[in-house]
Every structure is written in C-alpha cells, then in structure tokens.
C-alpha cells in the first residue's frame, strides 16, 4: 500500500510523517506537491501539520482550495483514505470534507504540550487497532485547535459516532481541565460520515518511537495498514 504525504508551502510535519511511514513502518511513501491532482497511485494520503500558505486569511483556508485538496473527494470515492493532523485537520474542515471549524484556542496561547486522548470510536479504519475507551498519549502543537460546530452539527456527529478522539485526563475522564484549547465537547479528532477521512489536532507522527516519549501514534498507522490489507481496497484501485 502506498502512502502520500502532501506538502504545501509552509507545511512542517511532512518529513516526520515521511520518516515514520518509511523508516519506522517500512511502507512505501512519497511526497505529493500541493499542485498535484493525480492521486491514483496512493491508498492513503496524509495532510500534515504546519502553516500552509502562512495560514493567511484563516488557518487552512487557502490550502483547502488547492488542486490536491480539490482532488480528494474523487480520491476517497474510489476507496482512498485521508488522514489530516493539526493544520491538516484545519484544511479538511475548510474544504468541507469534515464538518465544523477550528478556531483560535480559548486560552489565546499557542499550546505545545502532551495530551491524553480517549478513543471514542474504535471501529474506524484509523482506530481499529485500539480499544474503545483506550487512553492515548500524543502531543499537540497549535494556536487554532478549538473545534466549533453549531448545535445541529454537533448532535449529528455525536449520533453518527464521528467523534473519534476526545481530550481526557490520564485516567480517562473527559473534563474541562484536560481540554487544552476550549474545543467543543473536548473534540480532538473527527471522522466523516463515510469513515474515509479523519482529522485530529494531535500529532501521531510525533508519538511513534520510544525515543520521542511514546508510540501511541503508531496505533493509527497500524490500524490503517490493517484496514488497507484486510479490505483489499488497495488491490481494487
């Protein structure tokens, strides 16, 4: 299965994702430039963190209309999977591939810290190697990660189990103190209705080796690999 790591001007986590996929997991991986829209070679595309196009106008706004992102609906319709982390999550919301919006942190501070996430849905292609309710440790690094959606949208994503990760305390309580950015309902990660596009503010690529303080991020990659192999989606495409 082939991974693509999308690079926008201002992306900064592209090399980390490339390293984890290629050197830690030994999977084929290539960079994809933001002007490319030929995605047929890939099974999974990563939208990494950073400050695409300087985050001018709004975080992820310009990237959300770039050729590579405009090609994503067709890519996922043909069985591809998309993972957006940090700025990648912002881009997915801006491009309407995911509902809601990511706004300035309620504390107004840029938050670069370790967080604990509770797995709310372990039945997705991105989380099937996890247990429901499992607590993962992953770092965040962002100034605009407060998820917002109107009441109707929030009800819908709750009902359809689209909330995949919530910020929680180390012992698994979803409480205000564990919420680093004021995110609605402590939402840290969200999936689309079809289960093909996941966005999360934390950085799994920065939690993929013991030397980095933990390997919980690898569970996302192991889930993806299991899904791609078992579903055989990479063979059909």
């Amino acid at each position: 299965m082939n991974f693509g790591v999308v690079v926008f001007p201002g992306t900064w986590s592209d090399c980390d994702f490339h390293y984890v996929i290629g050197e830690v997991l030994h999977q084929p991986v290539r960079y994809v430039w933001h002007r490319d829209s030929e995605l047929a070679d890939f099974d999974c595309l990563i939208l990494p963190g950073g400050f695409s196009y300087g985050d001018y106008l709004r975080a992820g706004a310009v990237a959300g209309r770039s050729p590579v992102v405009e090609a994503l609906p067709e890519f996922v319709a043909k069985g591809g999977l998309v993972l957006g982390s940090c700025n990648g999550f912002q881009i997915l919301c801006e491009s309407k591939l995911l509902p809601g919006a990511l706004m300035r942190n309620e504390c107004l501070q840029y938050r670069c810290q370790s967080t604990f996430l509770r797995v709310e849905n372990a039945e997705t292609s991105f989380t099937r190697a996890m247990r429901p309710g499992q607590i993962l440790k992953m770092p965040i690094s962002h100034g605009e990660g407060k998820f917002y959606a109107d009441a109707e949208t929030l009800r819908r994503v709750r009902d359809q189990k689209q909330i995949v990760f919530r910020y929680a305390s180390e012992d698994g309580r979803v409480v205000k103190d564990a919420n680093p950015n004021g995110s609605l309902d402590n939402i840290a990660g969200l999936i689309n209705e079809e289960g093909t596009v996941l966005g999360l503010m934390p950085h799994p690529e920065r939690a993929s080796e013991n030397a980095m303080g933990g390997t919980d991020g690898l569970l996302i990659f192991h889930s993806l690999l299991g899904s791609l192999v078992e579903d055989g989606s990479f063979l059909k495409r």
Binding site: L57, R58, A61, V62, R65, C93, E94, P99, G100, A101, M103, R104, N105, E106, L108, Y148, A149, D150, G182
Partner: protein, 80 residues
C-alpha cells in the same frame, strides 16, 4: 472598481480575541467598553467588471474562499 468585504464572527460565537482586547481597554481606564468583537476588512480592487455582475463575483469570492460560513457572516459594499 472597488469593493469592501466586512467579515465578522457570527453572533453568539465566542470571540476570544475581542474579549482580550476589551480587557486591555478596560485596563487602560476605558471601563465603558461593554463589548468588543474583532472582524476583518478586505478591500478589493476590481478590473473589467461593473454593477451587479461585479457584486455577484465578489459574493462568489466570499462563498468560495474569503469567508467560512460555519463561523463567519459578511457584508459586501461596492465602492464605485
């Protein structure tokens, strides 16, 4: 031809930036400030379009890129 787009956070959405600026003003002795919300002004210079079609183009720009309807409202002003 010029156009001005005013972008505001929707009513009811917490504006942490506005609240912070408001607190700063109060700290400077402007205690009368009871509310403050920060928005954006986008001034556009347009060529080769006029009248209703110019406005329509700007509306389209707002829908496609300039504003995020999940969190923002906007107004378009044509400045002749």
């Amino acid at each position: 031809m010029k156009a001005r787009v005013l972008v505001r956070l929707k009513p009811g959405i917490l504006d942490v930036q506005g609240a912070s600026v408001q607190r700063a003003l109060q700290g400077l002795g402007f205690g009368e400030v009871q509310g403050l919300r920060v928005g954006k002004v986008l001034d556009l210079e347009l060529d080769g379009v006029s009248g209703d079609s110019a406005r329509q183009r700007v509306e389209e720009m707002c829908a496609r890129l300039l504003t995020n309807p999940v969190i923002e409202d906007y107004t378009v002003e044509m400045l002749g």
